[in-house]
């Protein structure tokens, strides 16, 4: 359904834009219909950049993003509008997604003006009610309120309801629950899982591995703009192969067991990577070959790809 093919995002840095910074480097993966794919990485890994490129909020430097076989970067005018009818995003901070001066339902009115100008008042309010109930909100309690009168979880579900008004097929959920409290978090997660069972595809961007495991079918692990490992969630979580993924798994705080003694590399041990593996500086393996070339993503078992030729010795 959605297919990323060799996508890169390059920013120019330095005084005169002389240096290239690869925020996302040659990333390829796809999301099938009715599938939830988690995009997992630390800050600076490029996970949000990918989400924004899919939503056409920033341009793609090279590569292609195809949605149902159409290259999204070529869309313009009415075609782009049609694309937004099917693909929508919800972001991390529900509080800053609203204009505090206006009532929260203004986000619905804007959708109506833009996408459903011909719809009658009655039909519209029924549509809004239905989509609010779909996300588990009671319309009588939440409509006609200012953003500060609603809780974070309600605001976040409001935004999902707004996306649902458009009968979307694909949702980019960028850290949607990291700002919410533990008790409301799980409600929003369950909502995403319900939507998935109704056929919605979701790209779930997160840094929290346990949340990724709860809802998704597949996971893509990013480090510094590169995919280092991807595959089905069970395979990645039960059998992480890339040294970075292993380190991530070992650092997740869990309630069923205590942290193991794992070597934590906070500062680079070795330096000197121009063409080499992105993880070379922090990697416990770090063979000489790693410093020279970034390894390709290769399949190690059915549906499990790793970008590290030395994963066995880790």
């Amino acid at each position: 359904m959605l297919k990323l093919d060799g996508v890169s995002k390059i920013y120019q840095t330095g005084t005169f834009g002389g240096k290239d910074l690869y925020a996302v480097n040659d990333v390829s993966f796809d999301v099938e219909e009715g599938e939830v794919v988690s995009l997992i990485g630390e800050s600076g890994s490029g996970k949000s950049t990918i989400g924004k490129m899919i939503l056409r909020l920033i341009s793609i430097s090279s590569g292609e993003i195809n949605f149902d076989g159409v290259d999204v970067s070529t869309l313009e005018g009415s075609e782009l509008k049609a694309y937004y009818r099917e693909v929508q995003g919800v972001f991390q901070d529900p509080f800053s997604s609203y204009n505090p001066v206006f009532k929260a339902d203004r986000v619905f009115r804007q959708i109506r003006e833009e996408f459903f100008p011909g719809m009658g008042d009655r039909a519209w309010s029924e549509k809004v009610d239905r989509s609010l109930r779909d996300v588990g909100l009671n319309p009588d309690q939440v409509l006609n309120k200012y953003p500060h009168q609603l809780s974070g979880g309600q605001l976040q579900r409001f935004l999902i309801a707004r996306a649902l008004l458009l009968d979307i097929d694909f949702l980019v959920a960028d850290e949607v629950i990291s700002m919410l409290d533990a008790s409301t978090r799980i409600d929003v997660l369950n909502l995403l899982a319900d939507l998935k069972s109704r056929g919605l595809s979701i790209l779930f961007i997160t840094h929290d591995l346990s949340l990724g495991y709860y809802v998704s079918d597949r996971a893509v692990i990013l480090y510094s703009g590169y995919i280092v490992e991807m595959g089905s969630v069970e395979k990645i979580y039960d059998n992480p192969l890339h040294p970075y993924t292993k380190m991530l798994m070992a650092s997740v705080p869990r309630l069923d067991k205590k942290w193991e003694e794992v070597e934590m590399e906070l500062k680079a041990k070795k330096s000197g990577r121009a063409e080499g593996c992105v993880y070379y500086e922090r990697c416990p393996i770090g063979e000489d070959a790693c410093a020279r070339r970034h390894p390709d993503l290769t399949q190690v078992e059915e549906g499990h790809l790793v970008a590290c030729p030395y994963y066995e010795s880790a």
């Binding site: 533990a182 869990r254 205590k258």
Partner: protein
């Protein structure tokens, strides 16, 4: 005994009346204890922490006594507390990333800070260097501006700064929330290390992430809507909590290995009451499945087993 608070009550003054953010808090932190403080946003975690170190308007001290190492803390008096702040009781604030003066090099800022407390900065330099090594920062950071450091590095720098004078009590307010999992782990383990090396005697670690507390805390205090709900050793809170709120909170946490299709987790229905004019009695009673007529009275925070405090009438039934 390190810290003891006795019916500490702090309200926020607003035009509409008092917001009752911390009600009748009585608890003890033993020598060398790391106490985790958990609860939803707005439950009074930060209010409790701030009232121990810097109680500023609109916060209003209502009543209570706090003793640190047997000495009474004048928490209601901003001026008198100055003698204790940083020396005996110190804080790593929430968003410690922005806690450093952006216009000063870190080394200069540190010495200014020390001099302002009447400590000779030069004499502290060797110790400062040792501690930078401990948190894996190079000594070069002292010649840098805060903007040159990453978020995790700034966090560790502030940790070193706050504990430089070996305070008795350290309050760490949501210090891991903005960090990646790998830095999160490193920073949390450093907190334990600081305690083990006796840089600090006791610690309050505030976070909404209970799984972090499970890793590092000796005991956990759970708060709900300004009231203390339960305090017990970490293992007890995680594996056999007594208070209904703690039970529901723990069971709503997603873990690695739990999938939606296999085991659907449930949240806590309803939302916390407004603390401006809160309901009388137990403030959890509207969301509580066990609530009965007794719950209109405030349950006392009672020790039901050694080291296990809980405030719930339903629980008291089985300990009568």
């Amino acid at each position: 005994m390190s810290l003891h608070a006795e019916s500490l009550t702090v309200y926020y003054q607003t035009l509409k009346g008092d917001v009752r953010a911390l009600e009748d808090a009585t608890f003890t932190i033993a020598d060398g204890e790391i106490m985790g403080l958990a609860g939803e946003s707005g439950c009074g975690k930060t209010t409790l922490a701030k009232s121990l170190i810097r109680l500023t308007p609109p916060m209003r001290f209502i009543e209570g006594r706090v003793t640190l190492d047997g000495q009474e803390l004048p928490v209601w008096d901003m001026e008198a507390m100055r003698a204790f702040r940083f020396k005996d009781i110190s804080i790593i604030p929430q968003y410690a990333m922005n806690a450093m003066n952006p216009t000063r090099k870190i080394g200069k800022m540190t010495s200014e800070l020390l001099e302002s407390r009447g400590v000779n900065a030069k004499s502290k330099l060797p110790e400062l260097r040792r501690r930078l090594d401990l948190v894996e920062l190079t000594h070069d950071v002292l010649g840098m501006y805060p903007i040159e450091l990453s978020g995790g590095m700034k966090q560790r720098m502030v940790m070193v700064l706050s504990t430089l004078l070996n305070p008795s009590l350290l309050i760490a307010d949501e210090i891991t929330s903005a960090l990646d999992v790998s830095s999160q782990k490193a920073v949390s383990e450093m907190l334990v290390e600081f305690r083990d090396r006796e840089f600090v005697k006791g610690m309050i670690v505030i976070t909404h992430d209970i799984s972090i507390l499970y890793q590092i805390a000796d005991s956990i205090l759970v708060m709900y809507a300004g009231q203390l709900a339960e305090k017990a050793p970490t293992e007890v809170i995680i594996n056999s909590p007594l208070h209904p709120y703690t039970q529901m909170l723990i069971s709503s946490l997603p873990e690695v290995g739990v999938k939606y299709d296999e085991r659907k987790l449930t949240g806590i229905p309803g939302k916390p009451p407004l603390l401006l004019d809160p309901p009388s009695g137990c403030r959890f009673r509207e969301r509580c499945p066990f609530a009965f007529e007794k719950c209109v009275d405030v349950p006392p925070f009672r020790e039901v087993e050694a080291g296990h405090f809980v405030a719930c009438w339903e629980v008291f039934k089985s300990y009568a």
